[in-house]
């Protein structure tokens, strides 16, 4: 018997959403449909009405989880378009912000995977440590989630010298989080059972769909914009890239834990290497033409293509979020998995609908007609079976009555 299930309310961040629909056959996933579009806000169209200076403020609000990567990619595109030089200190501050954001986003990943595996305490513990990162953002930049530091040609706010020792101390106090996650990964038998050989993505699938970010690196494809197309202060700091071959949820977790360590290290190096100096160059206007900006967001490569016509506004803003590259593969990789693992697989794919839906509109028929109670679904599927049987027998009566119901 086939049945259709909505994963409504499953993901703590997307409660009330009707984003993932599973079709289940004999407790195995027969199909997974990702239905985006409910968060579609027409941002790309809206962006054409903003000036270059206003643009980062809008783009930050595409997604609360990667609120720095979006403007980071946009300012990269703008700087490529206009050939704007960026002061060194600004590059360090940008790197620092991006890496702090990566840490909090990866912590969230651990939290949601834990939550979906029935490990409520992990969810709470990661939030406890995530709060420290938010605190740093709030103290240094004024907002907990949306620091608004990026602007073409530099950063909006400098880091005051007095806060640097405090930041270093905060980062030291963050260390227990990594030890905790290390303990969960290595020491927890059941966490291993829940995640090892679950949701495996082969290298072939990763290459086929052009997947990016930790998901690709967990399957043996070493793509990372920070290494491939170095930007900001990444060439000046020392860090490593982790690649795993397994492609399962556990490998994803290992990659993310490793990246958090590296990010923390990068932030420390940035704080140490930063020299005082100007943090922005003034920007009068941008010439016409196309600029491409890529950054490594926590979930993978974030791609911006900005086109200007020499005025104060862009004429086209094209955004390719990492989630929209990674989610299509999920529809393929989840098929055949046990229903028990569905929630973990979906959480591990790190769906960021805010990002993915800024533009992509996917879907079939009217979704609201399909939100049915379970009983209704079962009844419908019975009806459909009857109808099909009747059709095979050459009678159309069943079909007519089913439609009337």
């Amino acid at each position: 018997m086939r049945e259709s299930i909505s994963l409504e309310g499953m993901h703590p961040l997307f409660q009330g959403g009707d984003l993932f629909r599973l079709t289940v056959e004999a407790d195995r996933i027969a199909a997974l449909d990702i239905e985006l579009g409910t968060h579609y806000r027409g941002i790309e169209k809206l962006a054409e009405t903003k000036s270059w200076d206003q643009l980062p403020f809008l783009l930050e609000r595409i997604c609360g989880m990667c609120s720095s990567s979006h403007p980071a990619a946009a300012v990269r595109a703008m700087e490529e378009l206009g050939g704007v030089p960026v002061p060194e200190r600004a590059q360090y501050i940008r790197t620092l912000v991006c890496e702090l954001e990566r840490i909090q986003s990866h912590l969230l990943w651990f939290g949601t995977v834990g939550h979906n595996a029935g490990f409520q305490s992990l969810w709470m513990w990661t939030w406890k440590y995530r709060e420290r990162i938010c605190k740093v953002f709030e103290t240094v930049f004024g907002n907990r989630l949306i620091p608004s530091v990026f602007m073409a040609g530099g950063v909006r706010r400098d880091i005051e010298e007095e806060t640097i020792p405090w930041m270093q101390e905060s980062l030291d106090r963050f260390q227990p989080a990594l030890d905790l996650l290390e303990g969960v990964l290595t020491g927890d038998l059941i966490f291993g059972i829940r995640t090892k050989s679950i949701g495996v993505l082969s290298e072939e699938v990763v290459r086929k769909y052009g997947m990016v970010g930790p998901a690709a690196r967990a399957s043996g494809v070493a793509v990372d914009v920070r290494k491939d197309d170095p930007y900001f202060a990444y060439p000046w700091v020392d860090w490593n890239l982790a690649v795993r071959q397994e492609g399962d949820v556990y490998a994803n977790a290992e990659i993310r834990l490793f990246e958090m360590r590296e990010s923390l290290d990068i932030v420390r190096q940035c704080l140490k290497q930063m020299k005082s100096g100007p943090v922005r160059t003034d920007l009068k206007s941008l010439p016409g033409g196309m600029g491409i900006g890529r950054v490594e967001a926590p979930r993978g490569e974030l791609f911006y293509c900005l086109v200007g016509d020499g005025t104060h506004r862009p004429i086209r803003v094209q955004i390719r979020a990492p989630s929209s590259a990674n989610l299509p593969a999920l529809e393929e990789s989840a098929v055949g998995a046990d229903l028990d693992d569905a929630a973990v697989i979906v959480a591990a794919a790190d769906p960021c609908t805010g990002c993915a839906e800024r533009m992509v509109v996917i879907g079939r028929a009217d979704p609201f007609q399909r939100i049915l109670a379970g009983v209704e679904l079962v009844r419908r599927s019975h009806r459909k079976t009857e109808r099909l049987r009747d059709e095979r027998n050459g009678t159309r009566i069943g079909a007519d009555s089913a439609d009337k119901n």
């Binding site: 703590p12 009707d18 806000r41 809206l46 609000r61 709060e131 805010g354 939100i371």
Partner: protein, 143 residues
Amino acid sequence: MGIRLQIVTRSLWIYPVVAGGCNGCQLEILACLSPAYDLERFGVRLAVSVPHADALLVSGSMTQRNLKRMKRLLLEMPEPAIVVAVGACALGQGVFQGSAVISKTADAVLPVQVYIPGCPPKPEAVTAGLGKLIKLIRQNPDR
């Protein structure tokens, strides 16, 4: 109704829902339940599903595709049901003002009783907002 509302203030189960937005408000609402703020001190809990909820915390800009869904969620909530609008988008479309697919604010669709401004509101603001809601109901149970 009055007494019922009074009782609800003692154990307010919230159900945060994003009506098309950046999840920032959602993150901050969940941060309220995390160890640093811990709203469970006041009996506030995250409801598993809408039928368990007492308060619907709506955040995000109301995209057209979400209007019907929001109404359905409200219908599924048992009485007494409280609706709280969280964040600039839900209050007045925020930064997405002017988008063709966003035409309404939260209070045009749902009977919003409390507004929590901010982009995103800090967990302290959400806590204060819920505290004010509780205080308001206790002082004036008949609204």
